[in-house]
């Protein structure tokens, strides 16, 4: 901590710098390495003989004539049908984010403005729902979905992801709405607004930071989900993450590892860009529940 009276010894400063550098290496190097390796051929990135091939590109030179190759990308996106998976991911993400923000803001606003006892119990129930492992919920969905014949399609998955996402969105937006003074909507009510009008015209305009944070978290959940999408979607409708898993192969059929590597990079890059732009919101979202509560 940088306080006026707090003098740090040179040794402590050096130690601190070294620690941060080491930590950042541990945190970031795996991603840099995967990015680097995605432009090599399999024999280099997963070399049986010498790991240095991944840097010197020994086999990549022999197979493609250059030190870098984008073969893994073109193959995964065309032959591997990764374009379809990313199209599905975009559909799922857009719908999940917009629907869960719509439901979440309404519900959280009501919770934050209610003085009744049941508001507390609803928040507690949401906390318990938040703790449920997704796979246990999926084991509850599968059978009824098969019977109703709504398994495998995108709309079902979107609704399920919205619902799974609600507890967290509610808590997050609740803590944001709490910071908006009650007097603001009360004066609007006195002026003759209905609750919905006060919500729509008075509260929402000042809530954008909170809504962006909640939206980002819904986006990350929908974009990153594996459990729900892998089990509730059929092969045709798979999103990116289950698609990556399908490239890994199983005992029965050999997968295509380089496809998986390039797909991992393709799927991670947009997410990193997004977080870079919205870093402030992500951090305020993570701390909203913790520091204020």
């Amino acid at each position: 901590m940088d306080y006026g009276l707090d003098t740090k010894s040179a040794r402590l400063k050096t130690f601190n710098t070294i620690f941060i550098i080491v930590w950042l290496l541990i945190a970031c190097f795996p991603f840099i390495w995967t990015f680097w390796g995605s432009f090599k051929v399999r024999a280099d990135f997963f070399s049986r003989s010498d790991w240095w091939y991944a840097i010197s590109a020994f086999n990549t030179l022999i197979e493609t004539g250059g030190k870098f190759t984008t073969n893994a990308y073109t193959e995964a996106w065309t032959e591997g049908e990764f374009w379809k998976a990313s199209k599905n991911t975009i559909i799922v993400t857009v719908f999940v984010v917009s629907i869960s923000l719509f439901l979440g803001t309404l519900g959280a606003y009501a919770l934050s403005r209610s003085t009744e006892k049941y508001a507390f119990w609803i928040l507690m129930a949401a906390l318990i729902f938040r703790a449920m492992p997704h796979i246990t919920l999926v084991s509850g969905y599968l059978f009824p979905f098969f019977e109703l014949q709504i398994w495998g399609i995108l709309p079902t998955t979107i609704v399920v992801l919205v619902a799974i996402n609600q507890p967290f969105t509610l808590w997050l937006l609740y803590s944001f709405f709490k910071t908006v003074p009650k007097e603001l909507d009360e004066s609007a009510l006195i002026d003759g607004c209905s609750y919905f009008q006060a919500f729509r015209h008075i509260i929402m305009p000042v809530m954008w930071p909170g809504v962006i944070t909640a939206g980002l978290f819904s986006l990350m959940l929908a974009y990153n989900d594996f459990t729900v999408t892998a089990l509730l979607l059929n092969q045709e409708n798979h999103t990116m993450v289950p698609k990556i898993q399908s490239y890994l192969g199983t005992n029965q059929h050999e997968g295509n590892l380089m496809w998986a590597v390039s797909a991992v990079v393709s799927a991670t890059a947009p997410l990193f860009m997004l977080v870079m732009f919205f870093q402030r919101q992500v951090i305020s979202g993570l701390t909203a529940g913790a520091v204020k509560g």
Partner: protein, 342 residues
């Protein structure tokens, strides 16, 4: 807010949660009391010039008919809970009577699928959660000491492991640690053991998954602690410096008590998340030596011949009970606070 207005505002989200979180839990509960139908078999007499043989084959037509009539399966009561793949009551009784020493008994029990998974899940929670708290706190302290200007990019680098999905995160690490990856190959060279690999050793696999867990969850603890550190008041710290308190004493007696509520929050969240560990097992292809409760459910649900709804549901119910036990202290505390606040 009047009750009626509250109702209409809350209805959409409430309906979504009841339909897709509340009902599935009930549906899981019901399914756990049923088991899939046995296959109907029939005797087929086959005659060839050398004589007749009677063989038993599956009567697919009959089996489908029964399955269509009662898709939920046959009622099994608590049968699924007590069978070999879950609580294994009979097996444990048998082991208790047959094995000589207590060590051998424990050994036998921990080889049963459910207990094996339970032990891995608990070990994972036990090692990952405290280390996440510790590492997250240290990173927060040390980033808090660097110049404000360069903190932005440093924070971005720190939170990368957290924002990727666990499957991708574990794959990225696995590709390096695997025997054909950069770290794995170098460790083999260093140890001079060409057969050393992740898959060959159970202990190594467990350690790798636990390290992955710490790597993935620490950024979350860091972010929360970092934000909490910004709210620590300066005056008591300055007073402590004047009184000659060491850096360690200042952290122990001023900073830690101040951020204590946040520590319990992070501990709770990461305990809940660690309890459902599942994707790293797929990412590290560690199914052979490490199985978690969530993985058992997944395995039942992707079963190729018949989806084992009953078995998956029984494991799910027991996982939910586990979560309830973890959450109980928090709920009781909140309830007490709520009662005194009134």
């Amino acid at each position: 807010m009047p009750n009626k207005t509250f109702f209409w505002f809350f209805l959409p989200t409430g309906l979504a949660m009841i339909l897709f979180i509340g009902l599935p839990i009930i549906s899981t509960g019901i399914q756990s009391f049923y088991a899939q139908h046995d296959q109907v078999v029939k005797e087929v007499k086959k005659c060839d010039p050398f004589g007749c043989t009677v063989s038993i084959v599956v009567d697919n037509e009959e089996t489908t008919k029964i399955r269509d009539a009662k898709p939920l399966g046959k009622f099994n009561g608590f049968g699924t809970y007590t069978d070999r793949n879950h609580l294994a009551v009979d097996e444990i009784k048998k082991f208790w009577n047959e094995t000589g020493s207590f060590g051998a008994f424990v050994d036998q029990v921990t080889n049963l699928p459910f207990y094996k998974a339970l032990i891995f899940t608990l070990t994972y929670c036990l090692f990952v959660t405290p280390n996440v708290l510790l590492l997250g706190f240290i990173i927060a302290l040390s980033l808090n000491a660097v110049a404000r200007k360069i903190r932005g990019p440093l924070i971005f680098g720190t939170i990368l492991p957290m924002i990727v999905t666990p499957l991708v995160g574990s794959l990225v690490l696995f590709w390096m640690i695997d025997s054909q990856g950069i770290i794995g190959a170098n460790i083999q060279n260093l140890m001079n053991d060409p057969y050393l690999s992740l898959k060959s050793s159970k202990t190594l696999t467990w350690i790798t998954i636990i390290i992955y867990g710490i790597w993935h969850h620490s950024p979350f603890a860091f972010v929360v602690f970092y934000a909490a550190l910004q709210t620590v008041p300066q005056e008591p710290i300055e007073a402590a410096i004047i009184d000659g308190a060491s850096r360690f004493q200042r952290i122990k007696h001023i900073v830690l008590p101040h951020i204590y509520p946040v520590v319990t929050f992070v501990a709770l969240i990461s305990l809940m998340d660690n309890f459902r560990v599942f994707e790293p097992i797929i990412g590290f292809s560690a199914e052979g030596s490490a199985q978690s409760l969530s993985w058992l459910i997944y395995d039942n649900l992707v079963n190729e011949e018949v989806i084992l709804f009953g078995s998956a549901a029984a494991t799910s119910m027991m996982t939910i009970i586990g979560i309830a036990i973890l959450l109980a202290p928090v709920l009781i505390r909140t309830w007490k606070e709520f009662k005194t606040a009134r």
